[in-house]
């Protein structure tokens, strides 16, 4: 049962239970009792003249036959434009986006995603590549005997990682994107095998995703398993050959050629081991590899966590040499240090503290210490207070320190809930103070509104050639929306900012989104956004000996319109094999109940089948034989099962010993024939 169906059924049960608990007794009247009081007849709004406001549901379908399958197709048209002195030409992103999912009885669940651009691409936009399409086909959870299952994919994909590589609290190995194929096999003892390879690339596009390949190749293969309870060991290799790590559209000049044409080749291996029991976990990782023919680089890091009661502590240490990559992805390297974090949570308190010390392995770069802490305390049911403090200490000879403080008061009030927040941050040359008042307004169901007002004071040192930074700004913002009818909703955002003293660019931005259900399977989505920075005249310091000079700045902005026509449909139900769970592997169990004339225990030519006899699987599921005595269970969960036959409908004088009890082993995607012979009574 899917989640939606489960919720529906819970609601149904709730309704039924309400009736059973409260409604039924009210109807039980003993004979001779007084007639129940007359029910009150409700008044109707406008005498019952209100037209019903009904939406038709998105995916709900009256067709539950067959296995679950769904499809969605979006036809997208858009226009994006820029305004101002350096504005580029208008840009269209039109195309089709489709995705489909379908379940199979024995081959797992499948999905396909595809997108295709229609019309010309404008290569001057960095977000637009030369590719005009993207696609991917995924097959998930294909069952096999012995507890195995497989996930496979083809198309524009992420490179696969073993689970140990994903469970990292401090360092992450990137999963790059590529045009290629991946496979993952899951087996007993938590065994996981992964492999994948292809040409690296990147996705681009806003509503119609396309995929551009970058040249070169990348490949990975890995495995992990649990040799003992609480212990997991694993390893993975990732390599790249002549792979470009940056993308730049043709004719674009965003990146210098030495960067945009930078290609790498790498070979890297990861070994990882983890122990986990109760609230304790420890993991040791070792990475070793070469990048562009450099000497071997080594990385090692260990992470631990301990949860006890309301406290959770995580800690670790690391040493990662320079020049390490994972496939075609450069990873954080040339660093060593350690970290410690502690968190506390109770009904009234939520608090945390962390310290992270990083030093370079090589002689290049700076050492940094990052401290952060936060705390929130619920004063009463409606009032909470909290604060956040961060500090970044850089030791590169100058001992720079950046830090910020934030304090807030949350309050539930008769109009909804609000927050008053103060924030202070300082860096090497600037200071920033913000005071913000936010309110989420309690409105009728289906309506939403949140507002905020911020006063910001910026101050900074005078820098030759740069505008004077001192300014006070006022920012107002609102988000609102409403379900105007059951089939039409409207949401919007608006922000406005201006300088009330000093010099700062005024800005406005707004967006609006409309969602209209045209018919059961048809939707129309419309969205519009506009961002604008108004013209302003900052004072630029040219010399400490002369007054600042006004330098007018022209206004600039961008806007976009998106129109999507969506068709979507869903049919069928989820597949659960007899005696198994959702998605379990299954086989077919079939055979004949026959009259064993020659009593040799085999179904021989000329022996008649027993029609209309009940065959029972595992004492729970039953079917009847057809006119030829054949029975059929098309999908039975893989494993051992017991078949019995109810002999009641056998023609006299035939009978079955021990109800024809037969034990049978069903294997995935296989057919098992079991013939059961009846004996003549003697």
């Amino acid at each position: 049962m899917n989640a939606q169906a489960a919720r529906a059924f819970e609601a149904a049960c709730l309704g039924l239970l309400l009736f059973a608990a409260a409604g039924a007794p009210a109807r039980a009247q003993p004979p001779g009792a007084a007639a129940p009081p007359a029910a009150y007849e409700d008044r109707l709004i406008g005498g019952g003249s209100l037209a019903p406001d009904i939406s038709l549901g998105d995916y709900a379908s009256p067709d539950m036959s067959g296995l679950a399958r769904s499809i969605r197709v979006d036809a997208v048209a858009s226009l994006l434009s820029q305004q101002g002195a350096y504005a580029g030409p208008s840009y269209h992103e039109n195309g089709l986006v489709a995705d489909a999912q379908w379940e199979t009885a024995n081959l797992g669940a499948w999905s396909a995603d595809a997108a295709a651009r229609i019309g010309e691409n404008d290569e001057r936009f960095a977000v637009a590549g030369t590719s005009r399409a993207s696609f991917a086909v995924h097959q998930r959870a294909m069952p096999f005997d012995g507890g195995w299952s497989a996930n496979n994919a083809l198309g524009d994909l992420n490179t696969p990682l073993i689970e140990l590589a994903r469970q990292q609290s401090r360092f992450l190995l990137s999963s790059g994107t590529m045009l290629g194929a991946t496979t993952e096999w899951l087996g007993p003892s938590s065994l996981q095998l992964v492999a994948g390879g292809g040409e690296p690339g990147i996705f681009s596009g806003i509503k119609v995703p396309t995929f551009d390949t970058l040249g070169g190749s990348t490949a990975t293969v890995g495995a992990q398993w649990s040799p003992a309870p609480h212990v997991t060991l694993g390893g993975e290799y990732a390599g790249a050959r002549d792979a470009n790590i940056y993308y730049q559209p043709p004719n674009a000049t965003t990146l210098p050629p030495e960067v945009s044409n930078q290609r790498i080749s790498s070979d890297t291996a990861l070994l990882s081991g983890a122990w986990q029991e109760g609230g304790n976990r420890a993991q040791l990782n070792l990475i070793d590899g070469t990048l562009d023919g450099n000497n071997n680089a080594l990385g090692v890091w260990a992470d631990g966590s301990h949860t006890h009661g309301a406290y959770t502590q995580t800690f670790g240490a690391f040493h990662i040499d320079p020049n390490l990559a994972w496939g075609n992805q450069l990873i954080a390297s040339d660093m060593q240090g350690g970290y410690y974090r502690v968190g506390y949570q109770s009904r009234r308190w939520l608090a945390g503290f962390g310290v992270d010390e990083v030093l370079p392995v090589s002689s290049h770069g700076a050492s940094t210490t990052f401290l952060n802490s936060d705390a929130r305390y619920q004063l009463s049911r409606d009032v909470g207070v909290g604060g956040i403090a961060n500090a970044l200490l850089t030791h590169d000879g100058s001992h720079n320190t950046s830090w910020s403080l934030e304090a807030y008061l949350d309050s539930a009030n008769s109009r909804g809930s609000g927050r008053l927040q103060a924030y202070y941050a300082t860096e090497e040359q600037t200071q920033d103070i913000l005071l913000t008042l936010q309110q989420d307004w309690a409105l009728r169901p289906g309506a939403r509104l949140a507002t905020s007002a911020t006063v910001e004071r910026r101050t900074g040192d005078t820098v030759i050639g740069q505008p004077q930074q001192d300014a006070t700004l006022l920012r107002l913002a609102a988000y609102g929306g409403a379900d105007l009818t059951a089939r039409l909703s409207l949401d919007g955002n608006v922000q406005w900012a201006t300088a009330v003293s000093g010099h700062a660019a005024p800005s406005t931005s707004a967006d609006i989104t409309l969602n209209y259900q045209i018919a059961r399977r048809w939707h129309l989505l419309f969205s519009y956004y506009e961002n604008r920075i108004g013209s302003w005249t900052p004072l630029v310091v040219n010399s400490p000996l002369t007054p600042p000079t006004p330098v007018p700045q022209a206004s600039q902005g961008q806007r976009g319109v998106f129109l999507t026509l969506r068709w979507q449909d869903s049919r069928g139900g989820h597949f659960v094999p007899l005696g198994g769970s959702l998605g379990a592997g299954s086989g077919r169990l079939t055979g004949v109940v026959y009259l064993d004339l020659n009593e040799n225990g085999r179904y021989d030519a000329g022996e008649a089948g027993a029609a209309n006899v009940t065959v029972i699987l595992d004492g729970r599921f039953s079917t009847r034989t057809d006119a030829n005595g054949r029975y059929d269970f098309p999908a039975v969960a893989a494993g051992r099962h017991v078949i019995t036959v109810q002999p009641d409908n056998l023609p006299l004088p035939w009978t079955l010993l021990n109800q024809g009890r037969t034990e049978v082993e069903v294997t995935t995607r296989d057919r098992v024939d079991v013939n059961i012979g009846a004996m003549r009574l003697k």
């Binding site: 939606q4 039924l16 239970l17 009736f19």
Partner: protein
């Protein structure tokens, strides 16, 4: 008693069966589960209930108002007839019968027209959504016609109506099979409320606990025993050893009081 429990048992058995067997039955999802709104005399409030038909076939629902009574165990009894002091004459509904396609949702409207001279107080009623056709519930060889229904409770606070909670003192009750401390309370006010607050305490062994007051409604005139459920950071259902001392702040509506009680 058996007559009262039989339908409950049968329906419970029904709900344990796979859903697909009963997808043709009552499967309405209603939102929100309750309304707590306020109004002044002479005002008309229009509210919307979303009713979704989650079944795979078109369904019809009967919608009407009911008065309700909360029993000592918080069991709800609905009354189609007008009870004394009922305010259902103030209420107008959109339509008595709703037909929804499979998967369809109706934004069902109802209004509360508070009379100009309505005294301060609380108007309470329920909007009932019932399956129009009985469903057949199977329990073994038996079949039982059952009409599913969902009640949406509506509280309308009129004028300056407000709860007034009086604490009578400590008690020890059995709640969800455990002995827990409880507070005897009386709502002497004119509107319902729910207790909340942050309470801490210590049992006879010296262990510390957080205590959470039951948030069930306390209607005007009600006398209730409000359970204080213990918990710790690593145990949501600890067992207490009495006597237990509890301190903290109890809150309801816009009022609060300090609590320092011993439960034996």
């Amino acid at each position: 008693m058996i007559a009262r429990l039989l339908p409950l048992v049968l329906v419970s058995l029904l709900c344990l069966q796979p859903a697909r067997s009963y997808t043709q039955e009552f499967a309405a999802v209603v939102s929100p589960p309750r309304f707590e709104i306020s109004a002044k005399g002479g005002k008309t409030l229009r509210q919307v209930i979303e009713i979704t038909n989650k079944s795979t076939t078109p369904s019809k629902y009967r919608v009407h108002t009911s008065d309700f009574v909360l029993g000592p165990d918080y069991g709800v009894t609905f009354h189609d007839e007008l009870l004394k002091d009922s305010c259902r004459q103030w209420v107008a509904i959109e339509r008595p019968l709703v037909a929804l396609p499979a998967g369809g949702t109706i934004r069902y409207r109802f209004e509360v027209q508070v009379p100009q001279d309505a005294p301060d107080g609380e108007c309470r009623f329920a909007i009932m959504i019932e399956g129009d056709e009985p469903a057949m519930a199977k329990a073994g060889a038996m079949q039982l016609p059952i009409v599913g229904r969902i009640g949406v409770i509506v509280y309308v606070t009129v004028g300056a109506a407000a709860p007034q909670i009086e604490l009578f003192g400590p008690a020890v009750i059995t709640f969800d099979g455990r002995q827990v401390p409880a507070l005897r309370v009386h709502n002497a006010g004119t509107a319902h409320t729910r207790l909340s607050g942050f309470l801490t305490g210590t049992d006879a062994t010296g262990r510390k606990f957080d205590f959470t007051p039951s948030e069930s409604p306390i209607l005007p005139g009600d006398v209730r025993e409000v359970a204080l459920t213990p918990s710790t950071s690593d145990n949501a259902t600890p067992t207490l050893t009495f006597p237990v001392a509890v301190q903290g702040t109890l809150e309801w509506s816009d009022q609060r009081t300090e609590l320092d009680e011993h439960f034996k």
